[in-house]
Symmetry: C2
Subunit: 392 residues, 2 copies
């Protein structure tokens, strides 16, 4: 089976490779080129087993599945006041956390790497490569190990030691590049060109986002939410956003469900960003879409280390446009306060994940509204460190 | 609703409190006193949502649930050769790992603490207390935080710093006692007697195992396995064993399923122990049950830090007797090799969990046999430390 065809959703041109739409890139806009939406009609949502491979027909890769048991993460209702009793059971509105830290390597990246490594196998690759500040590299390393593929991870020396250790434990080759994201990505681009290694993450400029086959794994977040809220309207889903792979994947998952008649409407999507690196928040302040697409901001250091882009990837904007959504940025102090607030409720998240919860609390919604924040990664990897910095 | 009545399964006497059967203790045997088995008849196994609260009627506590989304952990098929391709999908026999590290605080203890803290709420407690070398303390702290209860955790200074940090993050009061387990437990016993704090773990001698209400949460491991292997015979389940709370809970869960006609037979259960602390393995060498019950071994330090008792808790022996099971001990070198073997397949477990997989590999089973090893806790808490020691 040949790989599913890729096409630019902005200009409609066919594409191949993993550097997004070349034409739109020349236009100054980074756009990913996804495969066609899957046809979910006739499927039974209540019987969906969860995870990217729960509905193999939703994936652009034939298999065999490369799985470590990713997905099917819990949805937990958060306290929204300082009440000291357990919240009531799952009825009525409220703020919910989908805890992606329950994935095998501790983050949502497992959903993408499960599919991306299967795509690499299907393509006959013997080596996969990722450029990552941590969680994506750990996930790539784990799934490559599972599949018996060699894995090279380009990182910077800013990656926290626990994430380095996790990448090493899975037997990946970790190559540290001085400088920042640009140097790291350049090294990966060279390796892809020179050796033909299979790329699991973004590496070109302007970034189009990650491997479009891998990204299809994120649709399962939407599929699981629809199943778990069975029939209840989900008003808003708040997603920590950097290159918008997760945001765009969730949007695609909900679109598939609506087109198959499995849900009535797609929830409003909200991009949550750290104030120090908030291109989507900046973009939505511009008056027209042409200007929004070409927004560029300075990005600075933030405790939400996994997040931080200078430009809004186009498919992220598209997800917000299509759903009547918005983007909201919060300061690091708000993020760290949210981390403590969540821990006081028994939940340990990395700061990048807490950003989504902090943003969710700022949204004006009715008392019966269901708001879901995606908690992308566990805080367990950073235990015992003073900084609480995380990696993505 | 009064709490479910407790009774000694060895001598049949009614019991109350959380120090096991007083009569059997005088006889030199630590025996826990569980509530009656639940009646699962009429339930639909395929529709079981998973987790301790998925079937509230299986629990001895009325609720409300205290939940962080525990349970529903994945079952992953392990490679049993050095093959470098992904294993085939879930058919035929093989060695499977149930990865309990996917629980909210990273270990199976969440299943027990979810129920134990609900029991504490139902009893009107304002403070819960645990004595723990780590994972149990972290779980107690998280669920107490979730319920708005005060939590005190007695530990020793041998607890790894990451686990200390996790307990602290949840706002529990960590009290470090010099000496070893005996001193730690004595401090907890004093606090229970003096302040009436609600005990979530074992603290008396000979240890009867943990809080019998909390332990009912472990039945959900069996319920989930039966659901996930839908109709396929599970031959053997291998369980890392110290005080046998998990082993005995799994045995009870399978018994409930069989008594309700939801499974045809209970799998053989195997207790996996580190060679340095292996009372069950020693006990089963004795010729009669009276001698087995009174076995006492020296226990030494081991990388499987969560494990290490001197006496076999009676209900653990009972689980092995009832299922035709056995106990197997492995050396630390074997355990650490297993940790590396698992990481080379993308799975990061703490050494105490790897013990079960290492033991599972030693069992003689037919090619079509399904063997499940319980991977009790994630290895992510110990990332970046040289020792790889874990906590339980």
């Amino acid at each position: 089976m040949p790989p599913a065809p890729l096409r630019c959703p902005r200009c409609g041109r066919a594409a191949d490779g993993f550097t997004g739409c070349a034409s739109c890139a020349r236009d100054g806009v980074g756009v990913n080129t996804p495969p066609p939406l899957a046809d979910l009609s006739g499927l039974d949502l209540a019987a969906y087993p969860g995870g990217p491979w729960g509905w193999p027909t939703a994936l652009p890769v034939p298999g065999p599945p490369v799985t470590l048991g990713e997905g099917n993460t819990p949805v937990v209702r958060l306290r929204t006041t300082a009440a000291t009793v357990a919240p009531p059971p799952a009825q009525g509105g409220g703020l919910w956390l989908k805890y992606e830290g329950a994935n095998p390597t501790g983050s949502h990246k497992d959903r993408a790497m499960s599919v991306g490594v299967a795509a690499a196998l299907a393509a006959g690759a013997d080596t996969v490569v990722a450029a990552s500040s941590g969680n994506a590299g750990a996930a790539a390393a784990a799934y490559a190990a599972r599949a018996g593929l060699r894995c090279v991870v380009f990182t910077t020396d800013a990656v926290p030691p626990q994430l380095q250790a996790q990448i090493d434990a899975f037997g990946a080759e970790r190559r540290v590049r001085g400088g920042g994201t640009a140097e790291r990505n350049a090294a990966m681009a060279e390796a892809v060109a020179l050796h033909g290694w299979y790329p699991l993450t973004s590496f070109s400029t302007p970034s189009p986002g990650g491997n479009p086959y891998a990204n299809e794994g994120y649709k399962s977040v939407a599929h699981e939410l629809a199943r778990d809220f069975a029939g209840r309207r989900i008003d808003t889903v708040v997603v920590p956003t950097s290159r918008a792979d997760l945001l765009a994947g969730i949007a695609r998952g909900f679109r598939e469900l609506r087109e198959a008649g499995l849900i009535a409407e797609v929830p409003r999507l909200v991009a949550a960003e750290p104030a120090a690196a908030a291109p989507f928040t900046a973009a939505l302040r511009a008056s027209d879409r042409a200007e929004q697409e070409r927004t560029r901001v300075d990005s600075g250091p933030t405790v939400a280390f996994s997040l931080g882009e200078q430009r809004p990837c186009w498919q992220g904007l598209d997800a917000l446009w299509r759903t009547g959504g918005t983007a909201v940025a919060v300061d690091d102090e708000v993020t760290m306060a949210e981390c403590r607030w969540l821990a006081a409720e028994g939940l340990l998240l990395e700061p990048s994940s807490a950003v989504a919860v902090a943003v969710a609390r700022t949204l004006a919604t009715g008392p019966d509204a269901v708001v879901v924040a995606i908690g992308t990664a566990t805080g367990m990897k950073a235990l015992g460190t003073a900084s609480g910095r995380d990696g993505g």
